[in-house]
């Protein structure tokens, strides 16, 4: 270790903790973070380089050559230009966007409504709260199977609908291209509204009550209080909640794949399902690597934005 870095960390440490000998602290700190650093490096640097390398070749696990010999199948940027012309990719992306644009706002509004109901004390609050949080703890694949059963043409969803309309309803939810996507979105909303509820409730209880009282005395009604006091106070939390759901929803796979397998046809094929199919069925890994890298680059931009917001949030005292 060079003397320069040692001096810098000594100064830093001196400001942080008084009684410690600075050297000991910085050495221990370095050692403590080492395992995590190694794991992160192991799963990011090398795989990324490998992905970049494979993405400019036609390599596939069936090609007979090891991945390190993929240069023999060099095709420059053909994978990337193919991607631009891949209509199945673009419609999968579009479908992912549709799911996101329906599910995230629905989860947000339902979660916010629930959080408003839970903002103050009332008898039975704890038990209701625990029950309403349950869906997010159910294994997503199992949730997918639950909804697979619910949406069978002879299943409970149609049974409930039959009772409401009075005549037998036998809608084949999961084999109708339009309805399958709706069924998948309902499952996602069921599972993740509790998360929105949980986060937004945490924000809502942080809104100072004296300000609310003052506004009430000044004659503000509930809606005005909500717009002028609650929303501005919760702005950061709302952004974090939405960011988390947008990121997670973009990855949608488990529930959906168990429910429909991406079908019927490609009706519920989202980005993750598309990549999964190309990876495991078509086995054109060079191409998959190119798709994956393109997605990673776009998401990295989102990541930087989300990180900024989170850093800001931590500075705001809750």
């Amino acid at each position: 270790m060079s003397a320069v870095t040692a001096t810098i960390s000594e100064d830093e440490m001196g400001a942080r903790t008084k009684p410690a000998t600075p050297d000991e602290g910085s050495r221990l700190g370095f050692r403590l973070t080492l395992p995590a650093q190694i794991l992160v490096l192991f799963i990011s640097a090398f795989p990324l380089l490998m992905q970049l390398y494979i993405s400019v070749t036609d390599w596939s696990p069936l090609s007979g050559a090891g991945w390190w010999n993929a240069w023999e199948m060099w095709n420059s940027f053909a994978n990337y230009t193919d991607l631009a012309a891949d209509t199945r990719f673009w419609s999968a992306l579009q479908r992912t966007a549709i799911v996101m644009l329906v599910c995230v706002p629905a989860e947000f509004l339902l979660g916010l409504a629930l959080a408003t109901l839970f903002a103050d004390e009332f008898p039975g609050k704890r038990i209701f709260y625990s029950i309403l949080l349950m869906p997010m703890m159910v294994v997503p694949a199992v949730a997918g199977y639950m909804f697979f059963m619910l949406f069978q043409s002879g299943g409970p969803v149609n049974d409930i609908l039959s009772r409401i309309v009075g005549t037998p309803v036998t809608v084949a939810w999961l084999s109708d291209p339009n309805l399958a996507l709706i069924a998948v979105m309902i499952a996602d909303i069921w599972q993740w509204t509790p998360l929105m509820f949980l986060i937004l409730l945490a924000g809502l209880v942080g809104v100072p009550e004296d300000q609310m009282k003052a506004a009430t005395l000044l004659g503000a009604n509930a809606w005005q209080r909500f717009i002028t006091i609650v929303l501005p106070k919760m702005k950061t939390i709302i952004i974090i909640a939405l960011a988390i759901r947008v990121i997670e929803n973009f990855k949608i796979f488990d529930t959906l794949y168990i429910m429909t397998g991406g079908g019927p046809g490609v009706a519920t094929e989202t980005i993750s399902v598309y990549i999964y199919k190309v990876t495991t069925q078509d086995l054109i890994w060079g191409y998959v690597a190119a798709i994956a890298l393109a997605i990673l680059i776009v998401l990295s931009i989102v990541a930087v934005y989300a990180m900024k917001r989170m850093a800001q949030a931590r500075e705001v005292p809750a």
């Binding site: 650093q37 294994v139 694949a141 199992v142 619910l150 990876t279």
Partner: protein, 286 residues
């Protein structure tokens, strides 16, 4: 604030409606798990919301005691998938928690590893599907495919961000006076960490570990890609419980789904208080 009577009525009505929607899918699976095969696909007027003749045969079936000749025996019972899920989730949690806790302490107290927060958020951000090709190649190279330890390693890395962020917020909140007192007494830094800080953090550590365990236990995609036969986990095994000969084994799948769903739900309720922090990477304090 005081609420009016109509509001209270509205509140309970809305909450009961939300509970109904929440519980119907869960109750349907519970009911299905205890239904005999004849009631699995009853429809219309015969649709049974609650098993008419409750039976444990679905559970017996997934553990290899088939009482129905219609169902062809499976290649193996659910015992090994359960073991695989348990081993990979437990050891994955151990990896994530030990690396994450150490790193969180290092950053919280000594400012080491400033790059980790961003690196770990990014790790969480990417769709697993988009980074799995190199992982599949590496795992094949390291002979980790279709092993529980291979799953444990990748689970440990994938959930490291949560372990790290949760523990970091816990360490940040912990008062330092006790640690400083011990330092004055002549304790070494490492000794303070292992003998004073960690024992004091027992409850938060347990919560974080349960949280990470739920995440590991919940995985489907990674196990789907990295296991093929020997060490498939419960969700992968569950999904495979249908064939052209038997059709959908509704009851057996539901029984297995129930086995998979119960542990995380119980754990989740136990650590409710910490869920917000865990899921928002500590961005929100509660």
């Amino acid at each position: 604030m005081k609420r009016s009577v109509p509001f209270e009525i509205f509140r309970y009505a809305a909450i009961l409606a939300a509970m109904a929607v929440t519980l119907v899918p869960i109750l349907w699976m519970v009911s299905m798990a205890f239904k005999p095969i004849g009631e699995w696909s009853a429809t219309g007027a015969d649709l049974t919301w609650w098993p008419k003749q409750p039976t444990l045969s679905n559970f017996q079936f997934v553990f290899g005691h088939s009482t129905n000749d219609l169902i062809v025996a499976l290649d193996h019972t659910a015992l090994k998938p359960i073991l695989s899920s348990l081993l990979s989730a437990v050891f994955g949690t151990a990896i994530a928690m030990s690396a994450g806790t150490a790193a969180a302490y290092g950053l919280s107290r000594f400012g080491s590893g400033q790059n980790l927060p961003l690196a770990l958020i990014q790790l969480r951000l990417f769709p697993p599907m988009a980074v799995m090709i190199p992982v599949m190649i590496m795992w094949a190279f390291l002979n980790l495919n279709d092993t529980w330890w291979g799953l444990a390693l990748i689970y440990g890395i994938v959930t490291l961000p949560f372990a790290f962020w949760l523990m970091k917020t816990f360490f940040d909140d912990m008062p330092r006076e006790i640690e400083e007192a011990a330092l004055v007494e002549g304790c070494s830094r490492l000794r303070v960490f292992t003998r004073i800080t960690l024992p004091m953090m027992r409850a938060p550590l347990a919560s974080a570990a349960l949280f990470v365990f739920i995440l590991n236990w919940s995985d489907y995609l990674i196990a789907l890609l990295l296991t093929t036969r020997e060490w498939v986990t419960i969700p992968v095994y569950m999904a495979s419980l249908s064939s052209s000969m038997t059709g959908q084994l509704y009851g057996a799948k539901a029984a297995l789904g129930l086995i998979a769903a119960v542990p995380p739900v119980i754990m989740g309720i136990a650590i409710q208080r910490h869920l917000v922090r865990g899921l928002t990477f500590g961005a929100l304090k509660q």
